[in-house]
Each structure stands twice: as C-alpha cells, then as structure tokens.
Amino acid sequence: MTSVAPAATTPGGSTGKTGGAAGRPSAAAWLVAVPFLAFAGTFLVYPTVLVLVGAFQDSNGAFTLGNLGTLFTGVVFDAFLRSIELSALTAVIGAVCGALLTWAIAVGNPDGVLRRVVVAGSGVLAQFGGVPLAFAFLATVGFEGLVTKFLRDSAGVDLFAGSAWLFELPGLTLVYTFFQIPLMVIVFLPALDGLRPQWREANASLGGTSWTYWRHVGGPILTPPFLGALLLLFANAFSAYATAAALVSQGSPIVPLQIRGFLTGEVVLGQENLGKALGLGMVVVVSVAMGVNVLLQRKVAKWVRR
C-alpha cells in the first residue's frame, strides 16, 4: 500500500477533482499500477510465455515443431484422448446430476439451512477438494474402504475382482464426479434462481402442464446456461491435477500426470521441452472450451436483454 503514497504528494493528484477518470492521467498516476503489473508480469505472464515459447523450442533453444508433433503420437496422444474422454464424461454426469441437485435446492427456502449447507459444501468440494478427496475416496472404495469391506463381508462381492479399476480411468471418473457435481451446483444455481414463479403460474393459468412449462419456458431459458456450465465443467476436469496425482502414483493415464512425469525427472534426453508442449496443448483445449462458452453467453446476452 506504500506505493500509493508517492502519488498522493504529486500535483497530478489535484486534477482528480475536475474530471476524475475522464481527464488524462498524469505520469505519476500510472505509478500506482506498477506493483501489480510488475508482479503479474513476473509470476503470471513470464511463466506462461516460458511454456508457450518453450513448446516451440528444442533443447538448444532453436525453433522446432517437433514437440508439437509428438503430441499427436503414441502415449502422449493417448493421454490427451483419455483426458478429453474423462473430462467430457464427468462433465455430462456432473451437469445432469448437478442440475437435478440444483433444482432440488432452488425450489426450497432461499435462506434455508439446507440450501446454505449444500452451497457451502459444494464450494468446498468443487474448489478445494484436491488431495482430501482422493483420501475420502480411498476410505470409501479403496482396498480397505468402508464400502469395499461391506460388500466383501456381507454380500461376497469383490470390488476389485476385475482389475485395479480404482487407479485407472473408471476410478478417476467416479472420483471426479465428486467435484464436478458440486461445481455444477455453484455455476447453475444463479440460472435456476432466475426462473420467476410468475412464468410457471402463467403457464398453468393458460392450461399448460408441467411438460409444456419445461418444453416452452424453463427448457429454452436454461439451455444456454446449462451448455455454458457443461463447458466449464469440461475445462475444470481437464485442468484438475491434485486428486488424480494423489490417487494414481504409478503410470500417467492423463495429461496432467504426464506433465508430472516430465517435471519429476522422467525426461528422455532431447525432449526437455515436451512437457511445455503438453502444457500448450492443455491451454489450447481449455481455451477452446472457455472461448466457446464466452461466445455462447455473449450471443445469449443479446437476446435476453429485457
């Protein structure tokens, strides 16, 4: 906050009274923004550029497309496909189950305890789950988990008869739903809150059924936010690392875990920058999902303006 002090003593400060923001900011006025810009430049832009540029460099720093080419071959490509499959699947499951849960709390008392508990709990799991979620999962359906033991002792069912599915794609899918469904609740609740009770009443007074309401009123209004949430969930699952890393310690079925491999030293000579290419690939996929979302919402905002 000390950075503000020098600006306060400069004559530039006195122009604030006349036009405020409209006037031409003095040179001193720009100084206030310097700490933030310097910080963001160093710890956000620089690392990002390092990754994006490094993706196009070989180990000597010369330009190459080789790293990017590798993205479309072998293990790396498979990891991308698997990551996309995992993200898409958990996005759909999360969106559908999450929308139902959102509806269930949206029709209740807006200041009720139930709603506040669900919203706060969703916030925890959606944004701060990470490693604890992996352990929650191990305690439930791990080799010695509560459900595993229960099924084995009382129903004679061995959850792991087929394979160690828990540490592969099916297990990741299951554990990812534990943060995808909550994220849907957080993202989708404002949209459902926007549905006015009068619309339902108007539908009923015109002789409409619940089906006609959802078909002609609720459905069309909720479709854009639902699709937007679906894209956000996809990007979220695609970027997630902590839960998968804590759960899967051997092998790298998905892209974030492949990047871990590169960072922790499993680097083949001459492929030092392949990790950065993987990073670039992830940024591209996430940006596409987010970009489509922005376009979608912008389009919707145009005709929703009342």
Binding site: L44, P132, F135, E144
Partner: protein, 267 residues
C-alpha cells in the same frame, strides 16, 4: 413435477440419493480413521496427528502461507483496482484480463513455467516455503478480483473519493479510511476464499518440492492411511466452516444491497 406431490417426491428422492452419495465418503472417512489395530474403534489416528512433527511443520507453513498470500493479494489488488476506477480506466481491460488469466492456464501448466522462475526466486530469497506466496497470490487472482470488483461496483467510489479529497485527504487516506472500510465485506470474502484455496493447494507446492499441508498429507498416506484420512476429513470440514461463514457474510451484503436498491424507487 406436475402436481406438488410428485414434485415433492422427486425433490426428496434427488436430495436423498445425491445427499447420500456425498455423505457416504465422509462417513467412510470417519469410520476408516477410527479403526484400531485389532479391529476395535480407536482414536489413535486422530491423536497421532499432533504427534507428527512433519505434519505440524507443514501445517504451520500452510497457515503462514494462507496469511501472506491473502495479504499480498490485497496489497496488490485493492489500490490498483480502486485507482483504475478513479483515475486509470484505460487499464481496466488489461488488469481484468491478467486477473482472469489463471482460469485459462491450469495450475499444472503454470508450474511448468514457474519451475525455472523459482530457481531464481530461491537463489535470491532462500528456499523457504513462504516463497510460494508469489505463486499463490497468482492462483487467487481470479477469485479475489471478482470479489473485490463486486465490492467496488457496489459503492459510489468516485463521489466518496472526491468528497474526501475536497476535505484535504491524501490519496493514501482515501484508500485506507474510505475505500477499505466501505468494501470490507468484499475484502473479507476475498481473503477467506484465498485462505481456503491456499490451505487446499497441492499442485504447485508438490511439484516445486515445498512442504505444505497437502503435500504432507499425500506423503503420509503412503505409510499411514488412517492419519492422512483423518487430516483430510479435518481439511474438508475446516473449508466447509470457512465457506459456510462466507455464505453468512454474503447474505448480509445481499440484504443490504437489496434494501439500498429498493429504497430510491426501482426503475
């Protein structure tokens, strides 16, 4: 969903099924962490949390980090964002872009670029885990930005600042005595969010080899699952308490805003 009865039944079913789906792991964690060696109930895992020096040290690191990161975030964002609204609207888009950028760059990608950067940071500032403050301040930018932006949008910043300035206040006084108290709810919200985020962060800490709470919990899980699960449950409950408190704060603000909006006659 047609008749109220069918609606109520469907709602109950959804709440029961999904509620059970999410409560089951919590119950399983409580059960697993209270297992004794001989199959009896025991609180050994819970009591050994405090005895584990590595874990306690990591917890202290994480708690310190949550404070330093929140402070750095506030110091960087509040003056800049207030100043942009007052004097530098030109920078509005750039700052918003920078603040929301971490949403498009997954932490696992950011850490690839941060690894070489941290070689320098550790060279100049030592290899204390507290150097993670910089990385974490980046991670909390999007959340903090939104909270603070909402806070600033809800007050008439320009009029307040002009009034204070015309009474002879310096810009620093304006910031410290006018802006900060007026958006304190937003600042508390932003801080709580960043505390929760820092306490739960794993990706960057583990890949830059710093010893934080989540890194220790993960390591511990390899040799003593019970303790790890107990700590995990604690983390989840603690984050829940934080966010639940946050929902109270937010509600009070919404009510206040709603009152303000309704009083001058809505258009």
């Amino acid at each position: 969903m047609g008749s109220p009865v069918r609606r109520r039944v469907l709602r109950a079913v959804v709440l029961l099924v999904l509620g059970g789906y999410f409560v089951l792991p919590l119950v399983a964690m409580a059960e697993f962490s209270t297992r004794g060696r001989a199959g009896e109930r025991s609180l050994e895992s819970w009591t050994s949390i405090v005895d584990d020096e590595g874990l306690m040290e990591a917890l202290v690191n994480s708690l310190l980090l949550s404070v330093t990161s929140a402070v750095l975030m506030l110091v960087l964002l509040v003056p800049t964002m207030a100043w942009i609204r007052l004097r530098l609207p030109l920078l509005q888009r750039l700052v918003e872009f920078l603040c929301l950028l971490p949403l498009a760059i997954p932490a696992i990608v950011l850490v690839v670029g941060m690894a070489p950067l941290y070689a320098w940071v550790n060279y100049f500032l030592g290899d204390s885990p507290l150097t993670l403050t910089f990385a974490y301040a980046v991670l909390v930018l999007p959340f903090a930005y939104r909270a603070i932006d909402a806070g600033l949008a809800a007050i008439d910043l320009k009029t307040l600042a002009e009034a204070a300035r015309s009474l002879g206040a310096s810009w620093f006084t304006v910031l410290w005595k006018v802006v900060v108290p007026n958006i304190r709810v937003a600042l508390i919200g932003a801080s709580l969010l960043s505390v929760a985020l820092v306490l739960g962060e794993f990706t960057i800490a583990s890949l830059l080899n710093f010893d934080t709470l989540q890194v220790q919990v993960n390591l511990l899980g390899k040799r003593n699952a019970g303790v790890s699960i107990a700590v995990s449950l604690l983390c989840l409950l603690f984050a829940f308490v934080l966010l639940f408190a946050l929902s109270h704060v937010g509600r009070r603000r919404r009510q206040a805003v709603a009152e303000e909006e309704t009083s001058p006659g809505s258009n």
